[in-house]
């Protein structure tokens, strides 16, 4: 059991982390999942998250930061409540991925890795998300939306604005 006092995570997440630190042959294996799960709850990987995870896994903060900077899904600044990730890789590009990206930029009034002033949406152009056969596709947080058109994107945005978007975590 972890002896680290939980300061920033919900009791559920802290309990999950206690468990994760015990299941692997080496404790450090829990690092990447922990960073992502912490981000899911806090919104981004803050300095406090780095320190607490380092303590839990007996690592230096620097070890954690080294790993953090490698993975494209991990971020050190808050994103919008709904992070819109538009795939423009080859299969999506052939079926209108860039048109979708331009549409999202215009509709949300923001660019790549920017957040709307109300904090509801952020936008990211991403590499292949594994939905090639149902292109063009986007992910809003972890939820996939495929076979899209600009019109369908408008409907989606309205759904999320109205709080009816799915939020897989």
């Amino acid at each position: 059991m972890s002896t680290v006092a939980n300061t920033i995570f919900s009791p559920e997440l802290a309990a999950r982390f206690d468990h994760l630190a015990t299941i692997y042959p080496l404790k450090r294996s829990a690092l990447v999942p922990m960073l992502l799960y912490a981000q899911d709850e806090i919104g981004y990987v803050s300095e406090a998250v780095v320190s607490e995870i380092a303590k839990r896994l007996d690592l230096f903060d620097l070890d954690v930061r080294n790993v953090l900077s490698y993975y494209s899904m991990l971020r050190t600044k808050p994103a919008g409540k709904y992070n819109v990730q538009v795939c423009t890789n080859i299969s999506c590009m052939l079926r209108g991925g860039y048109e979708l990206l331009d549409h999202c930029k215009a509709k949300l009034g923001i660019g790549h890795k920017e957040v709307t002033p109300d904090g509801v949406f952020s936008l990211e152009e991403v590499e292949c998300i594994g939905a090639c056969c149902w292109a063009p596709a986007i992910q809003i947080n972890y939820d996939f939306h495929d076979d899209l058109t600009p019109e369908k994107v408008d409907v989606l945005f309205q759904m999320y604005r109205d709080g009816q978007g799915k939020d897989v975590k």
Partner: protein, 439 residues
């Protein structure tokens, strides 16, 4: 939600349970689930490996290494624990087959992991999914929990005295982690940079122990092969290319989707019959036949069988089975730039030829695409790509160089015309002006 498609030419082995609710353990059991693993326990490791060898199954991740042989390389006696690691970090552009597999038949991946574990004498398996596949990870996690609840995983599985555990793991966004040694690094909580080989993972792998690493589709085939027999599976395909595989046909086709076709099936038929032909009746221009890293085939090169050897002879690769179809409206200059931009973004930076090569090819093609290129740029791109080949720890360098070489060699005329057509009035743009261009 991914739509399921089907075609009469399909031979369904690994996709047999798709759309049948087999993510639920009771349904999976009804559909012959967890029978193969019990037979494997009864028959023993040698039988498993011999059956897998007889099946002619080759790795479905892209490299096509014979699975039975890979399993047989693991030392029988080892001081360190042995591991099975399932690669579900599916990230090759054009590839989404494991997406459907995890969604519709997660237990087949679990059962295959157990079979691999029995074959090599391992007691612990890992199933690693890319971070973006969170909803699929949930499905796999539930399937694993259900298998534990039934006593199929854990101590004394099926009451046979055998122990086997499975841990599921999420990535957090990194194409490079799909490479087997980088995958192990990631699972050990580190940056996903590749390890030098040898030693190969079968000898020194995860946590220093002997490790078998297989693609999720490869692993999911194992239970089917044990139930139907190695020879019967082999017969579905061509010589040295046993069985069937999941092909993901995407891009400019009428009916994109995941189809399970026998190995050796005609690429032309896959495009024109199975996927319904080029979208909107347009003309075919080119095909990227096995994920973004495979050299492109032109429209008159598609009379080739979809197996590892025939595709190799045709100067390309079967790769991950992701067939990307391009109609004649596509600019190869733009497509080549998008492809290299991906590899430049994903290069982990560990090996200089890959880090610098992808970056300079991207910069050069960005200039060409922007209208400021010169013919010498085409030679430079080719020179850079040729010098990346075989000079990196992992195949990412090759994966970036191979398609690039394909584009500039097969479509050189288009590059030249593009540059010629833009010459009038367009000043040469310096690379410095373009640094930071693209995304």
């Amino acid at each position: 939600m991914p739509t399921l498609v089907s075609h009469p030419d399909e031979v369904k082995v690994v996709s047999r349970r798709f759309g049948m609710g087999a993510a639920e353990i009771e349904r999976y059991i009804e559909l012959d689930g967890y029978k193969a693993v019990q037979q494997a326990i009864a028959e023993g490791p040698e039988w498993i490996i011999n059956t897998m060898k007889a099946s002619g199954l080759r790795g479905r991740g892209g490299a096509g290494f014979p699975t039975g042989m890979k399993w047989s390389f693991v030392p029988k006696v080892s001081e360190k624990p042995k591991y099975v690691l399932v690669n579900g970090d599916e990230s090759e552009p054009g590839t989404c087959k494991d997406h459907v597999l995890f969604l519709h038949d997660p237990h087949s991946v679990i059962e295959g992991t157990m079979i691999a574990g029995l074959a090599i004498g391992s007691k612990l398996g890992f199933i690693y999914l890319r971070g973006e596949y969170r909803y699929l990870l949930k499905i796999v996690e539930k399937a694993v929990a259900d298998a534990y609840a039934k006593g199929f995983l854990g101590k004394n599985i099926f009451g046979t005295g055998v122990d086997f555990d499975i841990i599921t793991q999420t990535g957090a966004g990194a194409y490079e982690v799909g490479e087997e040694s980088a995958l192990m690094e990631s699972l050990e909580g580190k940056r996903g940079v590749p390890r030098i080989k040898p030693p190969f993972p079968a000898v020194v792998g995860l946590y220093g122990g002997p490790t078998v690493i297989n693609n999720a589709e490869t692993i999911a085939n194992a239970p089917h092969i044990l139930l139907m027999g190695g020879e019967a599976y082999a017969k579905l395909g061509t010589e040295r290319n046993g069985g069937t595989r999941l092909f993901g046909i995407s891009g400019h086709v009428e009916r994109p989707g995941i189809y399970e076709l026998p190995m050796g099936y005609s690429l032309r038929k896959a495009i024109y019959d199975v996927a319904g032909g080029v979208k909107d009746g347009k003309k075919l221009k080119a095909v990227v036949p096995g994920g973004a890293s495979c050299p492109v085939l032109t429209a008159d090169e598609i009379d080739v069988g979809l197996d590892f050897d025939q595709m190799g002879k045709a100067g390309t690769m079967l790769g991950s089975g992701g067939i990307v179809v391009l109609d004649d409206t596509v600019s190869i200059v733009e497509f080549a730039l998008r492809t290299i931009s991906f590899y430049q973004h994903e290069s982990c930076g560990w090996c200089i030829p890959c880090r610098e090569g992808t970056d300079w090819i991207k910069k050069t093609l960005t200039r060409v695409h922007a209208g400021g290129g010169s013919k010498k740029d085409i030679d430079n791109v080719q020179y850079l790509a040729e010098n990346m080949m075989g000079r990196t720890f992992c195949p990412l360098g090759d994966a970036a160089a191979m398609p690039t070489l394909g584009f500039v060699k097969k479509f050189r005329k288009e590059f030249e015309e593009y540059i010629e057509g833009n010459k009038a009035g367009t000043p040469i743009i310096t690379v410095e002006q373009l640094v930071g261009a693209g995304h």
